[in-house]
Subunit: 460 residues, 2 copies
């Protein structure tokens, strides 16, 4: 549906101001990629400051049938913000105001361009926190986390972003501005349009503002690391922890290759064992201590060779840094690209999943480090490669397809929290089925009759 | 779109068996109503046992353009299952198998007709629970809670049903059977069709099976009742509790009129004060005790004249019974009908909401008892009336509109957990706006091109 007409630059300048329309190839290059290897140059980048400006830009694009690509910080890993058909990139990072924080209502209101980590810092001052915490939180924007329905380490307890968004302001592909949901902590009035926008990866509209539910900070947390010689023992521990009725806040898995990569880059002194698990417990101090002794017992029975308590905040931070830098550290191993898988399987199928991933990767003669939010069955095999090596790239793609098939065989999904973008679009109809994919395409057409919003993403 | 053609009874009999096709007016009458005053007779009721049967019935209905009304236990309060245009009621209560419970995966799989309370009992045996807990849980079906996106007392901590459903099997209005989501604890592959079906009140398809996320039972819970002379003090307490960083599992409000109604019917010996709050805390025993002393301090400072601890399980049950029977007890006051409002507002607006509700109800010379899941700002004013008294009915409807307007003025919603049905359909476009309502209508058309699925519900 989308034409290749060039954007009406003068009109764009009159909407957002001349300084907020970028045309220089050097500037445009910065908007041609995300964290994946997918690349494509936009024709123009606009940097609006207000929802009215976003609306005007979209109206113009819709009139001229020009592709529009909303973009936050570009930390996504599947190419979802890459302007594959050129057109207009709408960068939302100037819309970065925290509009309100209300401890009495357990909520806050923010513009889409607010950086998640900055919101976290502000909330902490009020004794609050916002549960979704992707590893990119120091850079990613709220709008991006909503577009991808991002998760994070606390997903095991609190699920993904969609559980925490009460209301959205959205610019539709026609330029109309709507508000979904309400400021109430729950709202079931009509179809859940809020949750339909969340995770739609910019294909149904542009989120400009959000009301988020927040929680009081836990009274006390403890962080513990269990070191395993054997990876299968570490992975099998998860179900055992649930069966023992211990409910951690965080449960993270780091395999040997990932440990090595992290140590090499950050020198954090991880033990370099078959696998480590990092587990957080929270609650009252007494309660946590009790759960901790239960947890340790289960860990030892499961084969942990060592259990370390992070007693100081430095030690806690070090373990957190290790886990949250596992993905970027893979880029330091000498190859320019990393494919991050995001498969998520029922927890009891984890041992089978991990074993088979290693054997698939080995078959294709590739290098992988597996990390994961293992508490909810979410594994991130990070496969390093050089996309300029066509043979290697082909092997990576074949390997990716096989891992995706594995996820479905184990009754799981190819994506637990990262989304589809371009990288995983081919496999989406296979996961959800042709009928569901066709429903998606028709829903897309309802919102975006001219197909201007992020065309191609998710195969739409 | 829907015609008034009579259902092809012989074909229906060949699908579900003769004994599962009901045509006798006495039988049909039982399917003509729910808990509201909305009534309308179906032409025929079918009682399928398998998804294939549901699919065949829907295909037939779609071919002949006959309205189809899925029905669980009929405990809804807004007429959502009432066959306003006649047609076929598909009763799902024979599809009542609990298919699996997996403590290792924190999930279970059930057919749509499983009674929520029966699932709870089974889960308890495995040391698990399913968070959504509407007051009707002893009767309502899982399918009904999914159709309405039901909440309950634990909503303050765990939100509504949509947070807890991993995957659905749905018969589309064309008769096609699809599966949404996955068995993984999180899944963001494509548009969130699972959450689009949840709360769509049978207008997009018929849920026949669901995979639900469950949690380990809390180690320890405490229940405490605070008695207030003044209702405004009780209501203002909620924000104070959050500001003190106490996070209860349950926080319930019962006003004087509701207390009287409950005592009259069940003789539970409630104190009959301005208002009572029932609060549950959970966690480790030590942790709960610590939170409890914090909570009591806040309660006393807020003006509680008395704080009672439910120390035995009988006392705990008595308070729970009081709250969960508040709505049915209103039917015992001498009038045949109860309008249950479900407005939900930001917690800090609760004092204003409650005050204004009383004054609106007084203006229309009606009788109200207010209860509510006050921890998430959800109020249930129960207004008793006799729909045969046309003057009174008109006043009830005027009062309802005014309370609905109030909800929006306070940045809340007309429905936090009950849904729209027929009773609240008129007001829906006003809450969500014409653009959103039009999107809903078009989404409905994508799924149900012939408009056979529960026509009229939500104004669709």
């Amino acid at each position: 549906m989308v034409t290749l007409m060039k954007p009406p630059v003068e009109e764009l300048k009159s909407i957002v101001g001349e300084g907020n329309v970028l045309m220089d190839p050097v500037d445009l290059y910065c908007y041609s990629y995300d964290s994946s290897w997918v690349k494509s140059m936009p024709d123009v980048v606009v940097r609006p400051r207000k929802v009215e400006e976003v609306s005007e830009v979209v109206k113009l694009a819709n009139k001229h049938r020009i592709p529009v690509h909303p973009r936050g910080a570009g930390t996504g890993v599947n190419g979802g913000v890459v302007p594959r058909n050129g057109g207009i990139v709408i960068e939302l990072t100037r819309m970065n105001k925290i509009l309100s924080i209300s401890p009495a209502d357990l909520e806050c209101e923010v513009e889409a361009g607010v950086v998640l980590g900055e919101l976290e810092d502000e909330l902490t001052k009020h004794g609050l926190f916002y549960p979704p915490d992707p590893a990119s939180s120091s850079a990613c924007t709220i709008g991006g986390t909503i577009a991808t329905n991002a998760g994070g380490m606390r997903g095991i307890r609190y699920g993904v972003t969609s559980n925490w968004v009460l209301s959205l302001e959205v610019v539709l592909p026609t330029g109309e501005v709507v508000r979904t949901g309400s400021r109430a902590l729950k709202c079931v009035a009509g179809y859940d349009l809020t949750k339909l926008f969340i995770g739609s990866e910019g294909t149904l509209g542009i989120v400009t503002k959000a009301t988020l539910k927040v929680l009081p900070l836990p009274e006390f947390t403890a962080r513990v690391m269990a070191v395993f010689d054997r990876v299968d023992e570490a992975v099998a521990l998860v179900s055992k922890i649930y069966e023992a009725r211990v409910t951690p806040l965080i449960m993270e898995f780091i395999d040997r290759n990932s440990q090595k990569a992290i140590n090499k880059w950050l020198n954090l002194g991880l033990p370099e064992s078959g696998a480590i698990l990092i587990v957080d417990l929270d609650g009252s101090e007494e309660g946590v201590k009790k759960q901790l002794s239960k947890l340790e017992k289960v860990m030892r029975e499961a084969g942990a060779r060592e259990i370390k308590h992070a007693t100081t905040s430095e030690e806690k931070d070090r373990l957190y840094q290790a886990r949250s830098n596992a993905y970027p550290s893979m880029f330091k191993l000498g190859k320019p690209n990393v494919l991050v898988e995001d498969i998520t399987v029922p927890v009891s199928r984890l041992p089978e999943a991990v074993k088979k991933i290693y054997s698939i990767v080995e078959k294709y003669n590739l290098f992988v480090g597996i990390i994961g939010h293992i508490g909810d069955g979410n594994l991130h095999p990070n496969i390093v490669f050089d996309e300029r090596n066509r043979d290697e790239f082909r092997r990576v793609m074949d390997c990716h397809r096989e891992i995706s098939k594995l996820a479905l065989e184990l009754q799981g999904t190819i994506t637990g929290e990262h989304g589809i973008g371009f990288v995983k679009a081919d496999f989406l109809p296979r996961e959800i089925g042709k009928v569901n994919f066709n429903l998606m395409k028709q829903i897309k057409r309802v919102f975006d009759p001219n197909g201007i919003m992020n065309p191609g993403v998710m195969g739409l």
